[in-house]
Symmetry: D2
Subunit: 152 residues, 4 copies
């Protein structure tokens, strides 16, 4: 017996990666300036986002700046919330973020792998692992709490 | 050709779970009082520790207190450091800990699953997932930084 | 023209220290067991709470345990919320806590000085300085976020 | 009797604000690009740094971005470490940072008031209050831990 197509899938994403990128570009053109971020994949309560190598993000010695990693962790969590909640997720705002820097990456692309470990009515918490392109060892780890819009 | 038995295994644990429990009992008898913690498993850079149900840890409504979860996350990271570094790890001291509470657990046993995501010369960072016995959803998430003894 | 006495004072506390202690004792008898905590002072968005010296809180070498300091920081923030919001504040629950350990205190009384640096509709954030009795240098610093009850 | 000029003052700064700004400009020209930061004041274990209003830092609705606030908190702590330790402080690297967002500031200048609450041999911890120019209410609060260079 097939599952009727009208059955909502609780694990489906509300918006796909391409649509999220378009909406972010329209709302926050300054975030994407220089095409800094690429949303590689979204899932229910998850996202993978790439930050492309960029002279603005590097430091002497060829490493990636801490603020750039913060930005990627924060943005990746935001994308996972929007993928899961849909357009209402755009109203979410960061209430706190904690980041541990673990290793010095080479300058280059970075990837954020995000899981939402809490998705309550009022608060979402993302856990973020940051990697340098092609390197197995984790570079930084963050947890980010977002206050969610009330009427959802 | 077999690997000679004298070759050190970089992924071996320095101390096993039973030996760590004995050493902790000898050094910190107050931690174990009431047999609160059981070290279930240790690995290279990892540990799984159980906190047994205990009236002292519960709150009205039958949930587990935040301080009890903090204690478990902190202790679990300490065990993972000792398992990896050996007796020198006993000198490690917590320098910071960040914890997010995700869901209200029922009173009962809790399990901490710890991975060391940084193990530098001076600083170790543990990532800790806390679960209630038999429940898939994560109850709390912590990251703990430990200052390591200098001469190791 | 004098201000009529019926004008509410926005900076008044909703409950005083003695009343808060009575209500906590009634609701959470296990917290106060052994008379561990004394609420020394409360104000609008602030509290000062003492944790009395206790063998359970000490570690070899005569220092105070990290979990005991966590407990004091968490409890102190809770008291400041109740002092400011009144009995509704009892429904507040910790959503995250970050603590930095700065110095090793001698075993003895500890004092938490708490300020609420955010008091929104849904979230309160306390900033906590922990001191050892009679020592000027700060021993630990914490920030604690509490989810507030909805209908207030 | 006058104090001989060779007596070191334990509370003196190792480098003044002007000299720190010159050295940072020479080492990290990209940080200062657009003259984003002004070091207003440094002291023993303290600093006050201004981030000037900048279209890159703003978000729709005219507020300042979270990553910009992170950058200011991180940079302000770095300045306080250099002011206190001298040129050796340039080798310090952020090991973790925790930030709580408290209120939405209007777009405009922001000020970071930094105190070093720990200055050990291996680790410094800065406590940072962020304010919008001319507004009494705190906008964000951060604690930042820095690993210090070994040979100092």
């Amino acid at each position: 017996m097939s599952i009727p197509s009208s059955t909502p899938d609780p694990l489906a994403v509300a918006l796909d990666a391409k649509r999220i990128a378009e909406l972010i570009e329209a709302r926050f053109p300054q975030i994407q300036s220089g095409r800094r971020f690429a949303i590689e994949e979204v899932g229910h309560r998850s996202a993978r986002v790439r930050m492309t190598a960029n002279p603005r993000n590097t430091r002497p010695g060829g490493t990636i700046s801490g603020p750039a990693m913060f930005t990627l962790a924060d943005f990746g969590t935001y994308v996972a919330i929007i993928a899961t909640l849909g357009e209402g997720g755009f109203e979410a705002v960061t209430s706190s973020l904690n980041i541990n820097f673990l290793a010095r990456p080479e300058a280059g692309d970075m990837i954020a792998a995000v899981k939402l470990i809490r998705l309550g009515r009022r608060l979402a918490v993302g856990e973020v692992e940051l990697y340098a392109q092609g390197v197995a060892e984790m570079v930084a780890h963050a947890t980010a709490a977002y206050a969610l819009p009330i009427a959802r």
